[in-house]
Symmetry: C2
Subunit: 221 residues, 2 copies
């Protein structure tokens, strides 16, 4: 897991290399940022993803510049960041953020076998919302053909985590400035029903459950 | 603004190149993802940022691998992504997300002049929380020396935005699957006061105002 390119260099005590921590962050995030370089020009593109076992899947149109580039077997870096809070210190320079992030390096491989591709699309869909796949129309042959799926093995990954209150210089603790953490979390608002929804279709249990999960944080406070 | 490397390739109608849109997204985000390549290995690192006029600032320790690399004048790509909602369609393949993102390309320059550096740190602090700078201890000479600040001109940038309901295949609108949008927004929980806070310091107005702003979304729903 810990390799030269994934070792946490700055503030090493924040680094974690165990799979459980890495998977937990990957499973909690909603989007990743994919980094790749074409002719020395780096690009960072946000996209959805899914995980199954030790593979992370991304997908898109076969016409996508990113997917066409990644298929060449070039080195890529995928980063998932969860922002957990603002850390307000007494001094400007000790302001920080609480976060959990994963940086994943490697090369992606094309997922071309039909059943494997379907499983990857299942993982991508269920990642967004557990229970969703069973209550949608599955991809048809035309859609499968028109979709490129890539898999990145989760072999070289590191997690970086900051938690806890601000850390000020000893001399600053007596300053008259308020200090603490503002916790942050991605929360769900009231669903907007598709104006074209056919009559008589009620919100299914998996959506209600998702809403509960994405509101727990605020019900506590 | 629109150059070969920042032109939105996939779904061009989602692309925007006006500065007002780009600035608005940059000013709303909390973290950016910085992409750079060292010996053909791309890295994507999340970090805080601030904007002043047409420059985006990032900062960190002079020992940071990222900052040391970027100072070499290599091409970099900075991406800010705001996730606005999950788009649930009737078919698995038409699931999507509503988002606003900015992709910014260019080369960073070292900010070394004292007053300019102070202004960049002001922008970085005020970006996290407006009003914060005036109620903290300003950086001292030692901290200024121990901090590297880089500026990236906002010259080559593109924004990409998706809004609105799912778009399903015509034949799928009659399917018995619920469809719609789950709006998402980063929200603030109850502040956690620093256990070491000196007695008698109450929460200042700028923090209360921030909390109100980061809760408006949920008070509406």
């Amino acid at each position: 897991m810990k390799t030269t390119r994934t070792q946490v260099k700055r503030i090493p005590k924040r680094g974690h290399y165990d799979l459980k921590t890495v998977y937990s962050i990957l499973d909690t995030g909603l989007i990743c940022h994919v980094g790749f370089a074409v002719d020395d020009q780096p690009f960072v593109i946000p996209t959805a993803y899914g995980r199954m076992d030790n593979r992370l899947f991304i997908h898109g149109s076969p016409a996508s510049r990113m997917l066409r580039s990644l298929q060449q077997g070039i080195e890529i870096c995928v980063t998932v960041t969860l922002l957990d809070g603002l850390v307000l210190a007494r001094s400007a320079m000790h302001h920080s953020m609480n976060y959990r992030s994963v940086v994943l390096c490697g090369t992606a491989e094309l997922v071309s076998e039909r059943e494997e591709k379907m499983q990857a699309l299942y993982a991508l869909t269920e990642h967004v919302m557990p229970g969703r796949w069973a209550e949608t129309r599955e991809p048809n042959e035309q859609e499968l053909t028109a979709t490129t799926v890539l898999a990145l093995p989760i072999d070289e990954a590191s997690a970086k985590i900051r938690t806890g209150p601000p850390v000020d210089d000893a001399a600053d603790y007596g300053l008259p400035h308020w200090a603490g953490i503002i916790p942050l979390r991605m929360q769900a608002g009231e669903p907007i029903v598709d104006p074209k929804l056919a009559e008589g279709i009620v919100m299914p249990a998996h959506v209600k459950q998702y809403l509960r999960k994405r509101r727990e944080f605020l019900e506590v406070v």
